[in-house]
Amino acid sequence: MNPYLTLGVPPAAEDAQIRQAYLQGIRAHPPEGDPVRFQALTDAYQKVATREARLEHFLFDKSSEGNTPLGALAAYCKQLPSPPPLKPDALKTFLRECSKT
């Protein structure tokens, strides 16, 4: 899990920004309403809440998503906020690429 991605903050974010993102996240996804997302946010926050934690995470973190390279791609996509819609021209190219497979 990329905690920065989960919290929606850049890797250079400081304590206050990370905490704010966490609080916003758990307000939007409370444990009663969305326990999975709540837990993911809490786990992410614990990994990067302080400067020491961020250093530790950068240097010695051993966690990763996916059991295969494709699984890693899938997990990465799931973590991303939904990408912006493809523009009409890009959508046209996308659909034509899909027709080839």
Binding site: N2, Y4, L5, P11, A12, R51, E52, R54, L55, E56, F58, L59, F60, D61, K62, S63, S64, E65, G66, N67, T68, P69, L70, G71, A72, L73, A74, A75, Y76, C77, K78, Q79, L80, S82, P83, P84, P85, L86, K87, P88, A90, L91, K92, F94, L95, R96, E97, C98, S99, T101
Partner: protein
Amino acid sequence: MQKPQQPTTAPQEKERIAAKELAAGHFRKARDLYKELCKIDRPRFLGLLVEANQGLVSQMIQKGQYSEAVQVRNYLKTIAPAGALFGMDLDLALKIQDWPEALRAALGLWSLPAGAKNGGRIADAIVLCCPTEEEMASFPAPLAQEAALIFGALQDAGESRFDAVALKLRPLGASSIFASWKTFLKGMAAFHSDQMGKAQTLFKMLPEESLAARAARAYAFFIAGEEALEGASASAQTQLLHGGLRLLGQTTYEAALGRAQECWKAGKLSDSYRELRAVAAFPSLDGGLAGALSDFYFKGCFSLGWASRELFIRHMEDLLLSAPVKGDQEACSLARMLLTASLSGYNGSHPRFFLEKFEKHYKGTTPALGELLSLGYYRITQCLMGDEELYRKDEVEDIHLEQLREHAMELLEKSIETNPGHLAAHLAHASLSRSLFDRRRQVHLLDALCKRFPKEKAVFLLAGTVHLEADRPDYALAASYLDTALGLDPFDTEALQKQAHARVQAAVKAYTAGQLAEGRLHFGMIALHHSRQGGSFALSEEYTQVRQGVLETLFGDPKQGRTLLEQGFCNSGSVPALLLFQHACQVLWAKKQDPKKPLLKRLQEQPPQSAAERASLLAMLLHVREWGSASQRAAWTAEHEAVGKCLLPLAGDAFSETECATLLPQLAEVFLLLPLAKAIAKTGVKRAPGRVFFQAAHYTLTTKHHRESQRAKLEIYRESSLSDGDKEALKFITSQLERLTKFYTFDDAWEEVKPARRSPAKKKKPSCAKAKKPASPEKPKKPEKQAPGPFPIQIELF
């Protein structure tokens, strides 16, 4: 010489063979035969010739032979009616991406009577061809209006106008050929509005092999993550891969990631990494897709099985050491991974080597290099000190331990040098300096730390501890540091305990030296931070009251001392305190305080009578213990030790039967009070010789080692207690049986197998009273010596 003439096949035979070839899908052969047959009877065989050619074209399209398919199609145009070729034209045009031709064929297909049956194909083709508004205007109704709605909705979706999408799609009914595209666009709008559940439901409604369904698969990773892969075939997974990368705009990974996936699934982990390495942006320490895939290889390897992990890490180490690395990003990623591996037990190069490699190649600014290096050196030190623990156990020579500590010190100094604000490194450095440097230097280091980190509790706690645990403790100085620590965190238990101990010790010194004001001040400082605690008596306000009461009685104001002692004991619920209330004051108290007689002898002769006397007795006992162990560490076992040592000589005849029965179960659980428990058990046997409870307690407590035979004996006692209806006895014996099972130690096992030896002569215990001893109660028989047997199965290590 004339060639021998080939026998001519009869037309009927040719027809038969042609039909057979056509049915078997051998379109080329069937076409050639029908060509010949058309020369004989064109009207009859023309249709079949067209069919054979159509089949051939389809086959060529499937094989990707597009140019050959175009040639055959061009030939077909000369012999077949136009209407028969629209479907084939459409397939071919889509394959070769000839959009104008595809649009023409789609509209042609629509114009046929059975055109509606191909509605899905036609709709897909129109969407792919992206006709202009003028072209759409020329479409037959209702295609023109429906196509305009769909393209309008596509435009709105691309520009995030999802409300407009919903409006535009509303007129399209379920019978429209664009129904799938309506569902797709609704799903797309839901996805980009963060309504993942709705998007997933809509995408699942799409016809399986439609273009819309293939496009929708691209969203699967974003909606379901890895779950999208479950149960998917290899080709479906490939579609997911391509779709996801297209939506991410990262199509450069398509080929490499596909190959990497195949290698990984085949167990060729290093090859998998090598495939992905071909992509320019990979690996990366930064985020994004490259970062995510890098994490998979450099961190995910730690969750592999041991053999695979070792092999993979070995390969990566070779890559770092021998092969040319791809760049700084790869070198850093490798060094970081190998540093973590070496600190986790991987037997490769020294972790310091990897840290230095990381330092050489790291070009980032967040986090800062200095902080990372500081952490790295600190962790290597921790690893070394962990090794020291092992070396101690293996009894390695001191010189090796000395070298280890010096190495650790050097690393800590590097850690501090690269990040002077690294508190943990400073603390570790100060702690380690205890074993390497003289005290003065260590104190100097600690003082400097306190100035540097005035808001850090851990620094003041360490400083206080060092002064407290020195060979010649400076209690007052320790207390001042600990007061600061408590000022920063009033609820830190360790600081509370140590501060109280330091202050009490300092107070003892002050009182003894006649400095009453200073002594009282120390107790006042304790009272600032401590409160009435329901837990340990030794941490409570009552305990400090008692301690101060002792000192006031002896060196200060005896009246004040007595008041404090009474307050302390009246409020205390501690078992040892109650013990002393109940026993020592009932039986023994020195009415005449003869300073020439030892305290304990005085207590034996004259038991205390009043509450005040009882309180004073405890105070005196604690004080005796205090002088006896002035150089010991924090006295939080003071209550147990005091009671154990001081009451033991008093135990004989001091307790009634009821008191013995009440006390034994509690005392038997406390290691330090076992001698007292034995004495009380003996007293209990005297008081009630026939009672199984005391017999069992005496037997259990006086037997040196637990043996299997004891279990049998205790079972007998248990049966007796059941028949007597002695619940107290039953409860006690049951608990002893459980202990026997749970705490069978190696010593006990050794006792089973070691050679028999002579038991030492029993020492005569001092009698507690001058009165004649009553007749000895029935003693349980000693179990017979058994031949050493195998180690019992139940051994619990603790």
